[in-house]
């Protein structure tokens, strides 16, 4: 077997291994699940005494906080009135992102994060950090 064929084999096997491993948990990193989820959510972050603006939250977590949900969509899907944003991966990945960003920030006051979301327009859930 040539070296090239071996490398191809390793790449394919690694993809299979990672995908199976990811299915054991709630995230789908590198697991071929493109746009397979619809999480509608609202995010509120308070640092010290100040509430962050959407632009500040977007920069802090590198989330695309473009408001895509219209009142009509919220009504047709029975979404919570304050849900504004859309995420197309599992909710655990947003939580992971926020948790890791906050753990890495060594300076400044700690952040209080409130995430309210629905997956596939299902039950409303709340997640807080810390």
């Amino acid at each position: 077997m040539s070296v090239r064929a071996a490398v191809v084999g390793v790449l394919l096997a690694a993809q299979c291994g990672v995908a199976v491993w990811q299915h054991l948990g709630s995230t789908r990193y590198f697991a071929w699940a493109p746009n397979d989820y619809l999480m509608t959510y609202n995010l509120q972050v308070r640092v010290g005494e100040r509430q962050l603006t959407p632009e500040e939250m977007s920069q802090r977590y590198r989330l695309s906080l473009t408001e895509l949900l219209t009142p009509r969509m919220r009504s047709e899907l029975s979404l919570a009135a304050d849900e504004r944003y859309v995420w197309q991966d599992p909710p655990s990945e947003v939580k992971d992102r926020i948790r890791k960003v906050e753990k890495r920030r060594s300076n400044g006051p700690p952040a209080d994060v409130l995430l309210r979301y629905q997956l596939d327009a299902g039950p409303l859930r709340t997640w807080r950090w810390p």
Binding site: C16, A19, Y29, P34, R62, L77, G122
Partner: protein, 361 residues
């Protein structure tokens, strides 16, 4: 001294006569071109990386600039046909490093783009089809499995909510409301799962690869047509994969064409020197590949199908930032799939006892 041979060797549209297969090199150039046009070459600085090593790369902006410079140099070198295999490896590896260094950059479509470059770099003219087949089996197999295992996909809840938040959401919601409960969304949802499993199966069976390649184009073009989105690189990279899977001739085919014919325009566009053109003495058009030849419409279809510059034109126009509605690309792809299904597929499947246009070398 710059000779015509040197210029032809460095011709950015060239696809024949390198270490890579013609279809593989064309696919790599098309994807690299879109990556540049859409500004994705800017990549990223480290942000919540997947590997701890990226926490120790020094100045984040310097890291990003190095990735950008290496990627751009490899892209330019690829278009100059200098060490195209190495260039593909570098293009894919740099994107992969960027993906591993930033949770915010990682997406399935960029992961596929990186893998496509790397797999093309590892392929030979003999192994290209097998390698791409295996990759597509993994991709569609896990994509279908993930949907099958997800309660929201099985019940139609995902499909209903996802479509309702699209631009056409109101229309979709009203249409779904005609049917009881979530039956409309659940049916479509299961249809998508079935199609992705069928795609996987078509690449498991070597004889069905041409069918699978056309299905890939049709499936992703239908997503483009409905949503208006190429899902960043997904449409471009997967259609380029299907292009690479086409049975490209091993060397430029010979075309004998009549003086008064629209084929003359194709000759003018053949900047890649992908054909050997010869004026006909009579009125007939013919195409010859090795010991195979076609005349009339069969020749026309194959000249269009194996004309690299036409793919470059479509990809550039479609990827252009000045082109907000890209649905025309889907319509063009549907036409191409329909023509290929009628004119090329039977020969590929040997249904008419006609040999394939050429054997792979």
């Amino acid at each position: 001294m710059i000779t015509s041979g040197f210029l032809q060797a460095r011709n950015p549209f060239r696809i024949y006569g390198t270490a890579l297969s013609p279809g593989g090199l064309l696919a790599a150039k098309l994807v690299a071109l879109v990556f540049v046009i859409q500004g994705l070459w800017r990549l990223t600085d480290p942000f919540v990386p997947y590997l701890g090593i990226f926490d120790h790369v020094g100045d984040p902006k310097t890291f990003q600039h190095i990735l950008q410079a290496v990627w751009l140099i490899a892209a330019v070198t690829l278009f100059l046909n200098v060490f195209p295999r190495v260039c593909c490896a570098v293009l894919g590896a740099v994107i992969f490093v960027a993906l591993l260094s930033s949770d915010a950059l990682r997406t399935n479509n960029l992961t596929y783009t990186a893998l496509l470059f790397i797999l093309l770099s590892l392929s030979t003219k003999q192994t290209l089809t097998t390698i791409l087949r295996l990759q597509l089996i993994v991709l569609y197999g896990f994509a279908a499995l993930n949907k099958l295992l997800d309660r929201g996909w099985r019940s139609g809840a995902f499909f209903e909510s996802w479509n309702t938040v699209q631009g056409y959401g109101h229309l979709y919601h009203n249409l779904a409301g005609v049917f009881p409960g979530r039956s409309f969304s659940a049916t479509l949802s299961w249809g998508v799962i079935l199609i992705e499993f069928l795609l996987m199966i078509s690449f498991v069976i070597p004889r069905l690869v041409p069918v699978g390649a056309l299905l890939v184009v049709a499936y992703h073009s239908s997503l483009l047509f409905v949503t208006g989105s190429t899902f960043t690189m997904f449409w471009y990279a997967l259609v380029a994969t299907a292009i690479a899977l086409a049975p490209w001739p091993a060397a430029p085919p010979a075309v004998v064409y009549p003086r008064r014919s629209w084929v003359r325009a194709l000759r003018g566009l053949d900047l890649s020197r992908a054909f050997v053109w010869e004026l006909a003495r009579d009125a007939g058009l013919s195409l010859r590949v090795g010991d195979q030849s076609w005349r009339g419409r069969a020749a026309q279809v194959r000249i269009v199908a194996f004309h690299p510059v036409l793919y470059f034109i479509v990809y550039v126009l479609l990827a252009s930032p000045q082109n907000p509605d890209r649905r025309w690309g889907a319509v063009l792809a549907f036409i191409a799939v329909a023509v290929a299904t009628v004119q090329l597929l039977p020969a590929q499947l040997r249904l008419r006892r006609v040999l394939p246009i050429t054997s792979r070398v």
